[in-house]
């Protein structure tokens, strides 16, 4: 019997199998035509009389008009927060405060699908991330801090913790609702009231959160939301009525805020940029490390302050690792943020896209070797293909500056000492990753890396119980965990 006879009829060719579009229903969310400011429990038109349009970065279609708050508007919001603070919130029984936070957490869970779709529409992030990461974590932060509200005496025994007063909070556009939760939940749990300024390009989920506060019957003025561009944020920081400022965003703006607050004696928390090293040793679980690298830099289009944007690979496995990484990039699905199978969504804004393009051009000019998988990007909207640079010099701009986009720079090292030296050789220090099967090496590395978070054999994992924050130009103060509470308390010791 010949080989051919034995094999039977000729086998059909392998199947060309493409995933059909699987869009999340957009009609679960209906935006209002206009969103005013949320001040003292009321939605009000801005005194400035100015409005601006927020649009979807995926197709540049307008979503809603949003108020541009002026200094006067900000002043009213701070006054409302002050009134609410003195009028009962600060002296409310802690268990009562917890009740409101638990309510907010539950409402976030109940409305999670609607909020996830809104987040993806306004910010461009894939629905699977807003659905599986942003919303569950935002609710988790409220649940977690609700639990602390009546246990602060136990968190800080014999230190007599007291609220600070009115907190001015400015949040970025990369995780709009999640960053809101990181800021608002601990502030409220500790007995403060807040004036929150969401990012210019992603104000909608914060404005929907105003609705959540009303649904939870949160006393008027405890949470106030003022929208606008950078000038609104500057007005907020400048306002004399604040007792605390917390900012998450770029290092440049963070420095300006610190200058503005110099001499005013107001506590400040800054969570700024990063250029995290993701360090891969030759004994690691290679395929899982590749997943971690991909998650580290392409999660949320690389719009992550703690993104693993510098890949440090031990030279002996650089070749197979980069081969695997390139192959993996070919399966990344870039496109419609509302498609449930999309892995990489739209770049948040035109300005950010320009910045990414400029830095990528500088990388090419520096002689680094660029790789982008073949992918068809939509014509409208702001898009950038997942990018890897290999043979990157430590001195190159793409190895030193924060790109805040889906761009990975690959460098190599030879020994653990060299890995630590290169990883720490940056003005930033927000996070780092270590990939090795050797437990002792993880501990050795973690004690030497100057970064606020060190992940071992994983990356971009967040939990409300775990403090998050930076070294050096990545900022100071911690958010989350018991450490995060301290930023919203004073101690009468």
């Amino acid at each position: 019997m010949s080989e051919i006879e034995h094999r039977g009829p000729a086998a059909p060719a392998p199947l060309e199998w493409e995933y059909a579009p699987a869009p999340e229903a957009r009609d679960i969310v209906s935006f209002r035509e206009r969103y005013g400011l949320y001040i003292g429990g009321e939605v009000v038109d801005p005194r400035s009389g100015d409005w601006f349009t927020t649009s979807s970065p995926a197709d540049e279609s307008p979503l809603a008009e949003v108020a541009q708050a002026s200094g006067e508007d900000v002043g009213l919001a701070v006054d409302a927060a002050r009134a609410a603070y003195e009028d009962g919130w600060s002296s409310l029984r802690p268990a009562e405060r917890a009740k409101y936070l638990f309510r907010i957490a539950r409402i976030l869970q109940e409305r999670s699908r609607e909020l996830a779709v809104a987040e993806s529409l306004d910010g461009g992030k894939p629905i699977k991330e807003s659905r599986d990461v942003d919303l569950p974590l935002a609710a988790a932060h409220f649940f977690y801090h609700a639990g602390w509200a009546d246990k602060l005496e136990y968190a800080f025994p014999n230190r007599n913790p007291r609220p600070l007063g009115v907190a001015g909070q400015i949040i970025p556009w990369n995780f709009p609702l999640l960053m809101l939760a990181w800021k608002v939940a601990p502030a409220l749990a500790c007995g403060n009231t807040v004036v929150l300024k969401p990012a210019e390009t992603t104000p909608l989920t914060a404005l929907m959160f105003a609705d959540v506060c009303r649904q939870a019957e949160l006393p008027a003025g405890v949470v106030n939301i003022v929208t606008g561009d950078g000038s609104t944020g500057a007005e907020l920081v400048r306002n004399e009525g604040l007792d605390k400022v917390a900012f998450t965003g770029s290092t440049e703006v963070g420095k300006a805020i610190q200058r503005e607050l110099a001499g005013r004696g107001i506590p400040l928390t800054l969570e700024l940029g990063g250029k995290a090293a993701n360090i891969v040793f030759d004994d690691c679980a290679l395929d899982q490390a590749v997943e971690g690298i991909v998650n580290g830099i392409y999660f949320n289009q690389g719009h992550v302050c703690c993104a693993g944007s510098r890949l440090l690979v031990q030279e002996s496995i650089a070749e197979p690792l980069i081969g695997k990484l390139k192959r993996r990039l070919q399966t990344l699905r870039v496109g419609d943020p509302l498609d449930k199978n999309t892995d990489v969504g739209a770049i948040n804004s035109r300005a950010q896209l320009e910045k990414i393009r400029e830095l990528v051009a500088s990388g090419e000019a520096d002689g680094a070797e660029i790789y982008q998988p073949p992918c068809v990007l939509p014509e409208r909207g702001y898009w950038f293909a997942p990018t890897v640079f290999v043979n990157v010099a430590q001195s190159s701009r793409i190895a030193t500056e924060e790109i805040f986009g889906p761009v990975l720079s690959v460098l190599t090292f030879r020994t653990p000492d060299e890995a630590v030296e290169k990883a720490n050789n940056t003005p930033y220090g927000l996070s780092a990753g270590v990939w090795t099967e050797k437990g002792s090496r993880i501990l050795w590395m973690a004690s030497r890396l100057r970064a606020g978070v060190v992940w071992a054999n994983t990356f971009n994992r967040f939990d409300p119980a775990s403090p998050f924050g930076g070294y050096k130009e990545s900022g100071f103060g911690r958010e989350g965990g018991r450490h995060g509470l301290e930023a919203y308390l004073r101690f009468d010791e």
Binding site: H6, A11, A20, Q288, K340
Partner: protein, 323 residues
Amino acid sequence: MPALASRLKGMDGTATLTRGFELPLEPRLPRIGAVDAVALEARAADLAKRSIKRESKLAALDLIIRMTDLTTLEGADTPGKVAALCQKAVRPDPLDPSVPSVAAVCVYPNLVPVARERLGPDRSVRIASVATAFPSGQSPIEVKLADVRAAVEMGADEVDMVIDRGAFLSGRYAKMYDEIVKVKEAAAPAHLKVILETGELGTYDNVRRASLLAMAAGADFIKTSTGKISPASTLPVTLCMLEAIRDVEAETGRQVGMKPAGGIRHAKLAIQHLCVLSETLGRDWLTPERFRFGASSLVNDVLMQIRKQKTGAYQSPDYFTVD
């Protein structure tokens, strides 16, 4: 290190090493590699969330039928039972002629002649037979080889062997490897699927090591389970084995097939397997030549889903024959 240096250098100055300690020098040491269980399971769970709709779902369901090894491996198997199984294999849905035949039937050696008689000589549905003292593999090698030869002589196109887990778990990798080599020889020209019985191996590191050993020894397919113990096949185990297959292809160009078996009873889980397959190994593996499902009850659930996709309504299970 003078002692080592003198051991490395022979009397005539040429490099020698103690027997059993030869290291290949180029291009690098062979890498078994490690598997991180947490990250592996997270990746599998991630891929399981792919949303497969409309035409891609129908294409997947059709492919799942064509990839199925319709299996009965019971002590109670009879010629009548196997005859019915063969009928079902050729025409899974008698009411819908567009539904294709399955890839193969999988039976014990004694029932291979019955299947051969039923399926005839054209081999559009192949006959797979388990052998090598299935399911434990705890018999002398001569017995296992005789088992294999008998199955092939009686008409099996494919042989599903079990590895000697006792040898593997006690670190006697060479014994496991040598057995596969000998079985492969005895089974030719039938295709060889090597069952690792991953549920007994304990760790993903072991699954990876056994996968690489089996492929090195000549396996045409590697297969998760016998279906006789729990847990049988899981999505992370399949992913782990597919990653080993991917490494063998990258190193040698050889494309080894994969067969998850046991525990895949629903179309949804089978589609999740296809997503893992498609995003790990790509198009080359989206064929029954490279991927099989070992299953008995999966087919009817897939048929129900096909009917649902075509008509928009679910039918009662009573509209699909049990075998």
